[in-house]
């Protein structure tokens, strides 16, 4: 029996030991009794992050775009990171948010694909299955208060049908003919909707590339966590293609006339 009343529990009111005279180290400790619990850490914030991912439906399938930057806070830390990743034969996933979590996602999806391949049952996973799987994983992780800190786009083309959907760290999902994550949801999505909606079956690959370039350019101008190097992915009946890194042209001549922008002459 512990005979020190202060150890029986936290004092209910100031009437008891109002001035906190009981030595601090001897105060009752109501922490969990599990010695290791305090060592458990969950993801509280993303560390190395990617910004927007864009995707649209066009005549031949799905086109996706993401730049090659992984930021460390506001520092442009890694400038050659691929944020579009093929999964199986029919699907590409693109990720914004924590890059290490994205690498973990790539790893477990690779394992999933191999497991399906080795069963040799004549079935393979398409974009719809991969998106469903991802959404279940993301929701399960957020329910453990330990989310994978990403917003992901899943694009694919299988059996003559294109598929495009979103899933994020909360397990939220939705689908549309144009999708954008991160800053792109504000800056690029209006452009994408205007250019694509109602024309999904007519847009050619060249037109789709032009639309993507426009959006990437706008994002590079206005999103401080973006870079002018990006990649395009197409998923069509011919399979998955992810381009080499491309460069977006920009013009900064307008800055000449802005006072307070560059070196001042007066």
């Amino acid at each position: 029996m512990d005979h020190f009343p202060t150890n029986w529990g936290r004092p209910r009111n100031d009437a008891y030991d109002a001035y906190g005279t009981f030595p601090l180290p001897h105060r009752p400790n109501n922490d969990t009794k599990d010695a290791f619990a305090s060592g458990v850490q969950r993801t509280q914030q993303p560390i190395v992050t990617g910004t927007s991912v864009l995707a649209l439906k066009y005549k031949d399938g799905i086109m996706m775009a993401a730049d090659n930057l992984a930021s460390y806070g506001s520092l442009a830390r890694f400038k050659d990171v691929q944020r579009l990743h093929p999964v199986g034969k029919y699907t590409v996933i693109g990720a914004g948010g924590d890059i290490s979590d994205f690498q973990y996602i790539q790893k477990f999806l690779e394992e999933l694909i191999i497991e399906e391949f080795t069963s040799q049952d004549g079935h393979d996973l398409g974009p719809a299955e991969i998106h469903e799987y991802l959404s279940q994983v993301m929701y399960a992780r957020r329910s453990k208060l330990n989310p994978l800190w990403n917003s992901l786009l899943v694009g694919g083309f299988k059996d003559g049908k294109s598929f495009l959907a979103y899933v994020d760290l909360l397990g939220t999902t939705y689908s549309a003919s144009t999708l954008a994550t991160g800053f792109g949801a504000y800056l690029a999505q209006p452009i994408l909707r205007k250019e694509v909606e109602g024309k999904e079956t007519e847009l050619t690959e060249d037109e789709a590339i032009r639309i993507m370039e426009t959006c990437i350019r706008v994002l590079y101008y206005r999103d401080a966590r973006s870079i002018d190097k990006y990649q395009l992915a197409t998923i069509t009946a011919d399979g998955v293609k992810i381009s080499d890194s491309r460069h977006i042209s920009t013009s900064w001549s307008f800055a000449e006339g802005i006072r307070g922008y560059g070196a001042q002459t007066q």
Binding site: K107, E110, E111, I114, E115, T118, S119, Q120
Partner: protein
């Protein structure tokens, strides 16, 4: 069988006075009752072939596969008890996944064979289990090129250029020895493998059988796949034709 009645063959955990483990030898006998399985290693790939004996005409064609895929680049063929083959397959897949998780790279076949060897050997140590009644042929194209291993019921494993296990292994081995393995392409090896399986089957005058063929090579991009239907049919036709002219 001199071992019977001596009491030394009742458990895998008991040696005979001359240092043998009869349960392991019986397991080897179980392998010898099974349809032949062969593996061929050539310069740019691997071919696995199995003589799958059909015990009932009512079976669905292509049921009860004896060639399995372990990882993208690894194939496995067994001779012996079918269910033991399934168990070893599951274990091999687990080991391959385990290696991939730890090292983020495809499993080298040597390491997989080593781990499977340890697993099989553990079943020769205890009175509560029976040793595996299978010989396992493992084939892969990994970072060091094609490789081929056989894991025996005792847990030992060896690397081979050409491997044969099961009922017709003797004849199959002599046929494999005649081949110039270093000069064959994987595609040519498919024809040779099919021919050898048909040959050893004919020799034993067994009941019906189904030919299982798989390959890993340049043409499959280093992936373990069943041999395509048309090539399979062609190889079978050529194998049957070769039987007529043999000897």
């Amino acid at each position: 069988m001199t071992s019977i009645g001596t009491g030394y063959d009742l458990s895998a955990s008991t040696y005979s006075p001359d240092g043998r483990i009869f349960q392991v030898e019986y397991a080897t006998k179980a392998v010898e009752n099974s349809g032949t399985a062969i593996g061929v290693k050539v310069n740019d790939g691997i071919v696995l072939a199995v003589e799958k004996l059909i015990h009932s005409k009512l079976l669905v064609p292509e049921a009860n596969r004896r060639i399995q895929t372990i990882d993208r680049h690894i194939g496995l063929a067994t001779a012996g008890l079918l269910a033991d083959g399934r168990n070893i397959t599951t274990r091999a897949r687990d080991e391959a996944v385990n290696y991939r998780e730890a090292y983020n790279a495809p499993t080298p076949l040597k390491i997989l064979a080593d781990r499977l060897g340890l697993y099989v050997q553990a079943y020769t140590l205890y009175s509560s289990v029976r040793p595996f009644g299978i010989s396992t042929i493992l084939g892969a194209v990994d970072k060091d090129g094609p490789s081929l291993y056989v894991v025996e019921p005792s847990g030992v494993f060896f690397g081979y250029n050409g491997a044969a296990v099961g009922k017709g292994r003797q004849l199959a081995k002599t046929e494999l020895e005649k081949l110039k393995l270093s000069e064959l392409t994987t595609r040519e090896a498919v024809y040779e493998a099919a021919r050898i399986i048909y040959l050893v089957h004919e020799d034993a005058k067994e009941k019906e059988f189904e030919l299982e063929l798989s390959w890993i090579g340049k043409e499959t991009d280093g992936v373990h796949l069943p041999v395509p239907k048309d090539l399979h049919r062609d190889a079978e036709a050529k194998a049957k034709a070769a039987l007529e002219t043999f000897e």
